[in-house]
């Protein structure tokens, strides 16, 4: 039953460009980008570390990809790997220092890193184009929405599989024991720092790749919109609504919030993000397991 529904959803996702109009294809592509960010944020959260650096590595990947295409004539599809590898290398270097931190110190440092990246992007004008940003001559696949959609879909599948690997292998036991009690994890012989670094680098690479795809799709980068707080806020809200510490949670949350926000944008053009703030506050107070988790629990208990 479960495999059957997964195959059905996958088939629907693959043939969607043939049956849907361009607007819907575009909306679903954007939702999948945010889904990947939400999953990567949740994967880091499973270790007990709250990262506010999602937008930072997203923007880093976006800049790396655009610069690779513009200055070094890299193939746009290859530039996504450039974005991912650049974000991964940066997070590896930074992670060695930052991952010794815990709780709010880790959270605020990752938030500060995003600001540092923004300042760098704005001031290294020769490389990044400064405050005006950089515009490419052509979007990826010459702006073909169907090909872009399939590219994003395959990336999303990779991220979902990665998240499931984290959920099913012994990495999961290491990660959850770090989250629950670091001292116990340490005395059971788990190399905490190694696991944290692995997760940090992988999640940053996902964020970098997501940023690269997003930037190639629109063929431009600009400090304020590329490092926008939306790429931090929306994934957190999505993961919280769906339910954290799982793969299915962020997926459901991204679909629910993604479609809702499309309508909200039309209803209130100014400050529609307030809904996300309220959603975060309400889910943290009332629904610790997220909307999806709570509903599933209710169904199971009946």
């Amino acid at each position: 039953m479960k495999t059957l529904s997964i195959i059905a959803v996958l088939a629907l996702a693959i043939i969607l460009p043939f049956i849907a109009d361009i607007y819907l294809i575009h909306v679903v592509s954007t939702i999948m980008i945010f889904m990947c960010l939400a999953l990567s944020w949740d994967m880091m959260l499973r270790t007990g570390q709250l990262s506010f650096g999602t937008a930072g590595f997203f923007g880093l990947g976006a800049y790396a990809a655009i610069i690779a295409v513009d200055d070094f004539n890299v193939n746009p599809v290859m530039s996504i790997f450039v974005g991912a590898v650049f974000a991964a290398l940066t997070s590896f270097g930074l992670g060695i220092a930052v991952l010794k931190l815990r709780e709010m110190y880790f959270a605020i440092t990752t938030l500060a890193l995003t600001s540092v990246f923004t300042v760098l992007a704005r001031n290294l004008s020769d490389l990044t184009g400064g405050a005006a940003g950089k515009i490419l001559f052509n979007a990826i696949f010459d702006g073909d929405p169907k090909k872009t959609y399939w590219l994003i879909l395959s990336f999303t599948i990779v991220v979902i599989v990665l998240s499931e690997i984290f959920e099913r292998t012994r990495v999961k036991y290491a990660i959850s024991s770090i989250r629950n009690d670091e001292l116990v994890a340490k005395s059971s012989g788990i190399n905490i720092f190694k696991y944290l670094l692995i997760v940090f680098v992988i999640t940053s690479a996902i964020q970098g790749a997501a940023g690269a795809i997003y930037a190639q799709q629109y063929a431009f980068v600009e400090p304020d919109s590329t490092f926008s707080a939306n790429f931090l806020l929306l994934p957190i809200a999505m993961a919280l609504v769906g339910g954290i510490y799982s793969t299915i949670g962020p997926i459901v949350g991204a679909l629910v919030l993604g479609f809702t926000s499309e309508y909200l944008k039309l209803l209130m053009p100014y400050g529609h993000l307030i809904i996300y703030g309220i959603i975060i506050v309400l889910t943290v107070i009332f629904l610790r397991k997220g909307v999806y988790g709570t509903i599933m629990e209710k169904i199971r208990s009946k």
Binding site: E103, Y105, A112, V119, R122, N123, I236, I278, V281, V284
Partner: protein, 304 residues
């Protein structure tokens, strides 16, 4: 003790050198740094006593600025005098936010605490955005634009109020913490909440009052900086970061250290700003120092 003394001597020496080489950067940095520490003090109080990093800290400042702007615009209230009205309004808002959201998750996992203040911060920013749009607002008063000449350079006279206010607020906080019953209770709660509860202190009440009072204290910095800034919804975010940076640099519970590190970083920022062509890099000073200090502290902690 000896280390602290050495640190202070080093700090004083640095100040003298900067004052001699770049007097403008020195005065400008002194003023900015005092403002930063004035804003950071309430954050440090909440962090030290309630144990909560309030990510919505700077947004309460923005809210205070908008309240002051309305008072000035509608009723022609003097910005500095409007402090008397902003403070109670912020107190009530702080109380409402604390009681309705933060108190409910105070005992749960620390991730929830960070997430909830993050959510409150977004809600406040977007509320301000939808109420007043993102158009920048300005408050003009004649006395805020006067400048005086000191050692051959011209410098804003009004901003010296920041220096006076930050010292005054610091002294008042220290006196309240040392001399009043509430202050001593708050100090005890900050040291050990469980122990404080055992000796009969109402920990819940102390938390509530501390959070609300600290929020009300934002009125001082809001009304003082009002004539000198453009008011816009996202103004508060960088101040939250800078406040936390100062608190981390000074160390928890070290309130005078906040003023000291505030002035140091303010001057460092002003020096970078005064280098032609590199003024955009001055934002990096705070974040760079924040990352360095935290990483250094964490490494030292790991060795112990």
């Amino acid at each position: 003790m000896k280390r602290i003394f050495n640190l202070y001597t080093f700090f004083l020496l640095l100040l003298v050198v900067v004052a001699l080489v770049r007097p403008y950067a020195f005065f400008y940095g002194l003023q900015r740094g005092s403002l930063y520490s004035l804003i950071a003090l309430p954050l440090a109080l909440i962090l030290g006593i309630v144990g909560l990093l309030n990510l919505a800290h700077g947004d309460f400042l923005t809210l205070g600025l908008y309240i002051g702007y309305i008072l000035f615009n509608q009723f022609k209230f003097d910005p500095i005098l409007s402090m008397i009205f902003i403070a109670p309004i912020l107190f009530v808002i702080g109380l409402a936010v604390y009681k309705s959201t933060i108190e409910k998750v105070l005992k749960s996992h620390h991730l929830n605490l960070l997430l909830i203040t993050f959510g409150v911060s977004i809600t406040l920013v977007e509320l301000i955005n939808s109420l007043w749009t993102s158009r920048p607002r300005n408050v003009y008063v004649t006395y805020a634009t006067k400048s005086i000449s000191l050692f051959g350079i011209s410098i804003g006279a009004y901003e010296f109020l920041y220096v006076a206010a930050s010292i005054a607020v610091l002294l008042v906080i220290m006196l309240v913490l040392k001399k009043t019953r509430f202050g001593q209770a708050a100090f005890a709660v900050g040291q050990n909440p469980r122990g404080a509860a055992i000796v009969g202190i109402n920990v819940k009440l102390v938390y509530t009052i501390t959070f609300s009072l600290a929020t009300a204290m934002m009125a001082v910095s809001a009304s003082l900086m009002m004539p000198r800034v453009s008011i816009f919804p996202n103004l508060g975010g960088p101040f939250t970061m800078k406040s936390f940076c100062l608190t981390a640099m000074a160390g928890l519970g070290n309130l005078p250290g906040i003023l000291l590190s505030g002035i140091t970083l303010g001057i460092a920022e002003a020096i970078v700003q005064s280098i032609p062509g590199y003024s955009g890099w001055s934002d990096l000073v705070f974040f760079g120092v924040l990352i360095l200090v935290i990483a250094f502290r964490a490494n030292r902690g790991a060795e112990r």
